[in-house]
């Protein structure tokens, strides 16, 4: 009886661990997809394919800042592999640098939101803040 209980408990723990791991990976993927969708909207405005809309622009930078805050918490030790992740081992080797990159992204997103008062200022701010995508991916993401 005790043995069965232990086995069940053990299985439960194992499943929880697997669940937590795949959860973190799918959560961070969803977060990055949200950034991608916001960037699509931003690029359309910057290229003149969509009209400049102050509220929309603010929401784009809010997505960036929110994701930047949340991201560093989504890389537990047990989520280094699995679920098609393209996270680079460097994330865990250089936690300080990884976290600093998101602080920079968050700060610059907030500054970009304040600076974007019209199309011209938005273009400059958007171009600047989206440079964070490549510079962070260069270090902390493997090729896929």
């Amino acid at each position: 009886m005790i043995r069965t209980a232990l086995v069940v408990a053990g299985l439960g723990l194992g499943l929880t661990a697997v669940f937590a791991q795949s959860n973190a990976i799918s959560e961070r993927r969803d977060a990055m997809k949200a950034v991608g969708a916001a960037t699509r909207d931003g690029a359309a405005i910057a290229k003149g394919e969509a009209a400049f809309d102050a509220a929309k622009v603010q929401s784009i930078f809010k997505v960036y800042a929110d994701v930047a805050k949340k991201m560093p918490t989504l890389y537990p030790e047990n989520s280094k592999t699995g679920g098609e992740t393209t996270a680079a081992p460097k994330i865990w080797e250089d936690q300080a640098g990884f976290k600093a990159a998101f602080v920079k992204f968050e700060t610059e997103s907030a500054a970009a939101a304040t600076a974007s008062t019209d199309l011209a200022s938005f273009r400059t701010a958007f171009g600047g803040v989206t440079k964070n995508c490549g510079s962070c991916h260069e270090l902390y993401r493997i090729k896929k």
Binding site: Q21, S22, I25, S26, M32, G36, A37, T39, R40, A43, T81, G82, G83, E84, T85, T86, A88, P89, T130, C133, G134, S135, H137, E138, Y140, R141, I142, K143, K144
Partner: protein, 313 residues
């Protein structure tokens, strides 16, 4: 006794002949003669700067960890199945870099893979692609590099296992795999396509990463541009042919956009060493990125090595 002596003599003769054959066949001047540079006009430094960006020289030759990507002190470690290569100093420093080189030395290095001392370079330095650049273009590039800041210091030597640590062995590799000459335009194709073909296959050396390699480290021709495992370690280099799962659904404008901003059509942003590539291609004129895209859109659909099954959910 007499028979034994005859056998010994035969063996020695064979060994000497074998060694002589090896030395002859792996001689840098035999397997990779230098192109004739002839008389060149005054170098066009602006064109050299453009080729420097197209070639992504800083990605390997800028000393890692510094902000100024134009200080070409070298030192980047390049992992490979054969050992670790260290990119050398190519700044115009007279002692540690290429400050003492002449145009011919530079052309020999880039188009023949041979050093001023007459030794082979390892193909980790992609002269297999750079060879497509004609002497005039190489002279322009050399003139531009000479305008940069001389940087002191040398990179550590390569760390390679036997027999790869013997440079002569590269001669055999060149015999098997090193071919081609300066790029010749295809008159049946547009000027834009030809420009793109030149940039992608020559200075851009895209195939060097976006192809898989055989056991001896040479690009497998049949699956050129079809991606494969990242030779530097973890990850997978994408297929960039027109295969259904590769770039078939990408428009020419979308490929050019990736080379400019690093964003894919779904606004994902490229990572790893491709981020550095984009920093370089972003400096090219828009017409050149469009030309590269035009050429890539013309590549036949090729299915590359099958990606290993992914683990996890």
């Amino acid at each position: 006794m007499l028979r034994l002596r005859r056998l010994l003599v035969t063996l020695v003769v064979l060994a000497v002949a074998g060694l002589a054959g090896f030395l002859l066949l792996t001689d840098p001047r035999v397997v990779s003669p230098s192109p004739e540079i002839g008389t060149l006009p005054a170098p066009d430094i602006e064109n050299g700067k453009l080729l420097f960006a197209a070639g992504g020289c800083t990605s390997c030759h800028a000393t890692p960890g510094q902000d100024d990507k134009l200080r070409l002190g070298g030192g980047l470690a390049l992992e490979s199945p054969f050992g670790t290569f260290h990119a050398p100093n190519i700044s115009p420093h007279t002692r540690d870099g290429i400050g003492n080189w002449g145009v011919q030395d530079f052309v020999d290095a880039m188009a023949a893979g041979v050093s001023p001392k007459g030794q082979h370079y390892y193909p980790s330095f992609p002269y297999t692609s750079y060879r497509l650049m004609p002497p005039k273009a190489l002279a322009d590039l050399f003139a531009y590099i000479r305008t940069l800041t001389p940087v002191e210091g040398r990179a550590p030597p390569h760390e390679l296992g036997f027999p790869f640590n013997i440079r002569r062995v590269v001669g055999g590799w060149k015999l098997l795999f090193f071919e081609g000459a300066a790029f010749r335009p295809d008159p049946s194709k547009s000027e834009e396509w030809n420009r793109g073909a030149y940039l992608v296959n020559g200075p851009g050396h895209c195939a060097e990463c976006h192809s898989n390699r055989n056991a001896l480290g040479a690009i497998v021709k049949a699956t050129r541009f079809a991606g494969g495992p990242d030779p530097e370690g973890k990850g997978w280099v994408p297929n960039i042919t027109q295969a259904e799962t590769a770039l078939a659904k990408w428009s020419k404008a979308e490929i050019a956009e990736l080379l400019k901003s690093g964003f894919t059509p779904s606004f994902d942003s490229v990572g790893g060493t491709m981020a550095a590539v984009v920093r370089n291609t972003a400096q090219l004129p828009e017409a050149d990125r469009q030309a590269m895209a035009e050429y890539l859109k013309s590549l036949p659909a090729v299915q590359g090595p099958v990606r290993p099954a992914r683990t996890g959910s």
